[in-house]
C-alpha cells in the first residue's frame, strides 16, 4: 500500500547496489527465499535449518533434524512447508506452523538436491548421487518413490542427412552412462527438466514419468538449471564455465518433439575464465546474476536483453557460494564460503523532504510564484469553514472495499506464528545487525 506514496525514481532501481545487512547465525551453506520474499530459509553446516524473518532480520524458526550439512532447500507455494535435503541421505518436509517434521524420506545414496512440486507440497523430485533421479509422492499417505531415467531419449526422426552422424548420435544417447545431477520442475509442474553429467537436458513428463525430449546442451556436467519466476526463460550453469540462457519452449500447446530450445545468450568471464558457483534470475527476469569461484569474491549481474554485464557486487573478503534474488524486491542475499555469513544487498533511498509538509514540492529549478486573485483576501472564519464543509458534500467515500494495488504481491502467504514463550525455543542468538 505504500507503493503509491513512494518515490517512483526509487522504485525504478533494477538491481541493488549497497551492502545493507550481514546475518551471522551459524555457518550457512544454502539459502532460499519463499514466494513472497518475506522469509529466508538458511541451511547450516551442522544440519540445522534457520528461517529468517526479513522484516525484522531476526530468526523466526530454528528447525533441527539433520545431522549433516544441508544440501538444498525448497519452499511450498503457500509458504507453509519447507523441504530440506542433507548429506545425511534424508529429505525432511517441515511444517512451519509449529516447526514439526511433516515427513521424513530416507534414500539409499547421497542427495544432490530436492525440489517441491510448484503446486503440491506432497510431491518432490530429487537428484541422487549413485541412483536414478526419484520422484517422491506421498499425497495418499504412503511414500511412493518413482525412479526416472537418466538416459537421453532416442531421436527417431528421419530427416538426418548423414547416416553416420545419426548412428553416432544414437549410440551416444544409448550407451553413454551418465547420472542426473540436477532436476527441477517447470513453473506449472507439468514437466521435469533434468540435467546430466554429460551435458544432456532430459525433459520428463511428471504425470507419465517418461522422458519426452532430450537435448545435448554442453559436453560437461550441468550443475544448475533454474527458471525465471515467469517461467519464460531458464538458465543452465555447467562445468565448462559458461552460463547459458534459453527461452522456454511452449510447454502447453506444442508437442515435445517440436520444441525449439533456443539459446539466447552465453555468459562467461573471458578474462579470468572462472567457474560459476551459483546462478539466479532477478525478480522480474531482466537480470541474471552469478557468483564466482575462488579468489574473486564477486557477484556478476548481466542484463538479459543484450547480454551485457551491468554490475559487479563485491563481498567483503569471502568467496560467495549461493546467491538468491528476493522475488518481490530489489534485494540480493548470498552466503559466504569461509564463515557462512549471509550478505544482503539492497537499494538505499534517501528521505524525500517534500513529504515533511503538505505544501512542499521538489522542483528542478526556481519557480516564479503566481499569486491567486484572492490570495490575501480576509474571509471571516465562519464563511471559510462553511465553504469548506459544503465542498465536502460532493465527495463520495468508500471506506470498506479493498482494492488491489498494481505491483503488490496479493496472494495469500503463510505467516509464521511468532513464538514468545521462553520455553518454546532454546538457542543462543549470536547474530548481528
Amino acid at each position: 500500500m505504500n507503493l503509491l506514496l513512494l518515490d517512483p525514481f526509487a522504485l525504478s532501481q533494477e538491481y541493488p547496489e549497497n551492502l545493507t545487512h550481514t546475518l551471522n547465525y551459524g555457518h550457512s551453506t544454502c539459502i532460499k527465499f519463499n514466494r513472497k520474499g518475506d522469509y529466508l530459509a538458511s541451511g547450516l553446516i551442522d544440519g540445522t535449518v534457520i528461517v529468517f524473518d526479513f522484516e525484522t532480520y531476526g530468526i523466526a524458526r530454528v528447525l533441527r533434524g539433520h545431522t549433516r550439512p544441508v544440501q538444498s532447500l525448497s519452499w511450498s507455494r503457500d509458504g507453509r512447508y519447507l523441504l530440506s535435503s542433507s548429506r545425511d541421505w534424508k529429505c525432511i518436509l517441515w511444517d512451519l506452523k509449529d516447526g514439526s517434521r511433516e515427513k521424513t524420506v530416507r534414500f539409499e545414496s547421497a542427495i544432490w538436491g530436492a525440489e517441491l512440486h510448484p503446486f503440491n507440497h506432497q510431491i518432490f523430485i530429487t537428484a541422487l548421487l549413485d541412483d536414478a533421479p526419484t520422484l517422491v509422492d506421498f499425497s495418499d499417505g504412503t511414500i511412493r518413490k518413482h525412479l526416472l531415467s537418466s538416459t537421453p531419449l532416442q531421436k527417431d526422426d528421419e530427416d538426418d542427412e548423414d547416416e553416420e552422424d545419426a548412428d553416432a548420435d544414437r549410440r551416444e544417447r544409448k550407451h553413454d552412462k551418465q547420472s542426473t545431477l540436477v532436476a527441477t520442475f517447470t513453473r506449472s509442474g507439468q514437466y521435469i527438466f533434468a540435467g546430466t553429467s554429460k551435458g544432456w537436458l532430459n525433459v520428463i513428463d511428471s504425470e507419465t514419468l517418461q522422458t519426452v525430449r532430450s537435448e545435448k546442451l554442453t559436453t560437461s556436467n550441468i550443475k544448475h538449471i533454474c527458471f525465471s519466476i515467469s517461467g519464460k526463460q531458464f538458465l543452465v550453469n555447467s562445468s565448462d564455465r559458461t552460463i547459458r540462457l534459453y527461452n522456454t519452449p511452449d510447454l502447453t500447446y506444442v508437442d515435445p518433439v517440436d520444441w525449439d530450445i533456443d539459446i539466447v545468450h552465453r555468459f562467461q568471464d573471458v578474462v579470468n575464465r572462472l567457474q560459476w558457483n551459483s546462478v539466479a534470475f532477478s525478480s522480474n527476469g531482466d537480470y541474471v546474476m552469478a557468483s564466482t569461484y575462488q579468489d574473486a569474491h564477486d557477484i556478476y549481474i548481466w542484463e538479459t536483453t543484450v547480454g551485457s554485464l551491468v554490475k559487479i557486487l563485491e563481498a567483503p573478503r569471502e568467496e560467495i557460494v549461493d546467491v538468491q534474488w528476493d522475488p518481490n524486491r530489489t534485494l540480493v542475499a548470498a552466503t559466504g564460503l569461509d564463515n557462512g555469513t549471509i550478505y544482503v544487498w539492497a537499494t538505499v533511498t534517501p528521505q524525500r523532504w517534500s513529504a515533511l509538509a503538505p505544501d512542499f514540492v521538489e522542483v528542478e529549478e526556481n519557480v516564479e510564484y503566481e499569486e491567486r486573485e484572492d490570495e490575501f483576501d480576509i474571509i471571516p472564519d465562519e464563511i471559510a469553514n462553511k465553504r469548506k464543509l459544503d465542498q465536502e458534500d460532493d465527495d463520495e467515500v468508500d471506506v470498506v472495499t479493498i482494492e488491489r494495488v498494481r505491483g503488490e504481491f496479493s496472494e495469500e502467504s503463510f505467516v509464521i506464528p511468532v513464538l514468545l514463550e521462553e520455553d518454546d525455543e532454546t538457542f543462543d542468538s549470536s547474530d548481528s545487525d
Binding site: A355, V397, I402
Partner: protein
C-alpha cells in the same frame, strides 16, 4: 404504513423517533427514512441500511480509576480494558463476564493492542515502557524499554512480528516483538505523539501528534511518506486507517472528526456535533451493518455519524463523565465504550 414501535430502552438515543421503519435491519430498502429529533434536525439515513439502533447490553465494572482504552480482540471473543489504576482487565465479549486482571505496570496505562492471533496483548504506560503479555496466563513476555517519556499509544502490525509505539518524547519506536528490541526510532513530531496505527498489510504507519500534524511512514525504511495538516493547527488526538486503508480518520481538539484521503492530501469529510477540546477521545469506524463513524464526547455521550452524509444518526447517553474510548466488534453489531467514570458499557444492536 403503520408506525411500528421498536424496542428501545431509556439509555439509547432518546431524541430520535422513527416512522416507517423496516422490520428487519438487514433488508435492502429502496425508501429514504426521514425522522426528526427533539432539536428538529432532519436525520437522513443511507438508502439501504437504516439508522443504527444501539441499546445498552451490559456494564463492566471493576476498574478503580478512569478507563483509558477498550479493545475487542481480533477473533471477537475478548474485551481488554486498560486503566489509570495500572491494570488491564480481560472480559468475555459475548456475556461480559470478567476473566482476569493483568498487573505489572508501574503507572497508569494509556493504550492496549491485541496481537492478530488474539493470544498476546501489548500495553503502553506512563512508566515509559511498553509491555507484552500472554493474555490467558497474565505473564509478562517482553518489556520494551527505550522511550524517555510516557508511552502513549501502541499497535501491532498485521503479521504480529512488529510493534509501533508513540510516546510523549515525540518519537515513534518500531520494536521486534520476538527479540524485544527497538529496531528503529522515527523522529516523528515536535510534540507528543498521540496515536499510531498500521495499515492492513503492515507497509505503512500513520501517526498524529499534538503539533497538529498527521504523518505517514514507510515501515521498512522508516522514512516519512506524507504529512497532512489541518489549517487551524489544533492538536490531533487520535488517527487510524479506514478498513480498506485508503482513508484516515482523525479526531482533533477542535471538536471535529475528519476523514482524509491521503493520496489527494486533503480532508474529504468533517463530522461535528460533539465536544472534544481537552481529552483524547478515540473515534473509530463501525462497519458491521451500516458504515458509521463513532466517537466519544466530553459530555459523556457517544455520537454516530453517517460516513457519506456527515449527519448525526444516533447519540447514546449513559456515561457520567468524558467518554475516552470506543471500539467496534469486528463481526457483530457490538460497541464498547469507556471513560473517566471507570465504567465500561457494551452496546448492542439487535
Amino acid at each position: 404504513m403503520d408506525k411500528m414501535d421498536m424496542d428501545r430502552s431509556a439509555d439509547s438515543s432518546g431524541d430520535t423517533t422513527d416512522s416507517e421503519l423496516p422490520s428487519h435491519p438487514g433488508d435492502a430498502l429502496r425508501h429514504r427514512y426521514v425522522s426528526t429529533n427533539a432539536n428538529a434536525r432532519a436525520v437522513v439515513t443511507t438508502e439501504r441500511t437504516g439508522l443504527p439502533k444501539y441499546v445498552l447490553h451490559f456494564i463492566l465494572e471493576g476498574h478503580k480509576a478512569g478507563v483509558t482504552n477498550v479493545k475487542f480482540s481480533a477473533d471477537g471473543q475478548w474485551i481488554a480494558t486498560s486503566s489509570a489504576d495500572k491494570t488491564i482487565k480481560i472480559w468475555h465479549a459475548d456475556d461480559g463476564e470478567y476473566e482476569t486482571t493483568i498487573e505489572g505496570h508501574g503507572r497508569g496505562i494509556n493504550d492496549i493492542a491485541w496481537s492478530p492471533d488474539s493470544k498476546v496483548l501489548a500495553s503502553a504506560s506512563d512508566d515509559k515502557t511498553v509491555r507484552i503479555w500472554n493474555v490467558m496466563s497474565g505473564r509478562i513476555l517482553r518489556t520494551l524499554r527505550g522511550h524517555t517519556n510516557y508511552a502513549y499509544s501502541v499497535d501491532f502490525n498485521p503479521k504480529g512480528n512488529l510493534i509501533a509505539s508513540g510516546s510523549f518524547d515525540e518519537s515513534i519506536k518500531i520494536w521486534d516483538v520476538k527479540k524485544g528490541v527497538c529496531l528503529r526510532t522515527l523522529p516523528a513530531h515536535s510534540d507528543p505523539v498521540s496515536a499510531v496505527h498500521f495499515t492492513r498489510d503492515g507497509t505503512m504507519i500513520v501517526s498524529c501528534s499534538h503539533d497538529g500534524q498527521i504523518r505517514l511512514w514507510d515501515t521498512s525504511t522508516g522514512q516519512c511518506l506524507k504529512t497532512l495538516i489541518e489549517d487551524n493547527n489544533s492538536p490531533v488526538s487520535c488517527v487510524r486507517f479506514s478498513p480498506n486503508g485508503k482513508y484516515l480518520l482523525s479526531g482533533a481538539l477542535d471538536s471535529a472528526v475528519r476523514l482524509w484521503d491521503y493520496l489527494k492530501g486533503r480532508c474529504v469529510k468533517t463530522y461535528q456535533g460533539h465536544k472534544n477540546e481537552k481529552f483524547i477521545c478515540v473515534s473509530t469506524f463501525s462497519t458491521t451493518r451500516g458504515v458509521w463513524v463513532v466517537s466519544g464526547s466530553e459530555d459523556g455521550r457517544i455520537f454516530f455519524w453517517d460516513v457519506q452524509t456527515k449527519d448525526v444518526v444516533q447519540i447514546l447517553d449513559g456515561h457520567k463523565d468524558v467518554v475516552l474510548a470506543v471500539d467496534a466488534h469486528p463481526t457483530k453489531n457490538l460497541l464498547a465504550s469507556a471513560g473517566l467514570d471507570g465504567v465500561v458499557r457494551i452496546w448492542m444492536e439487535r
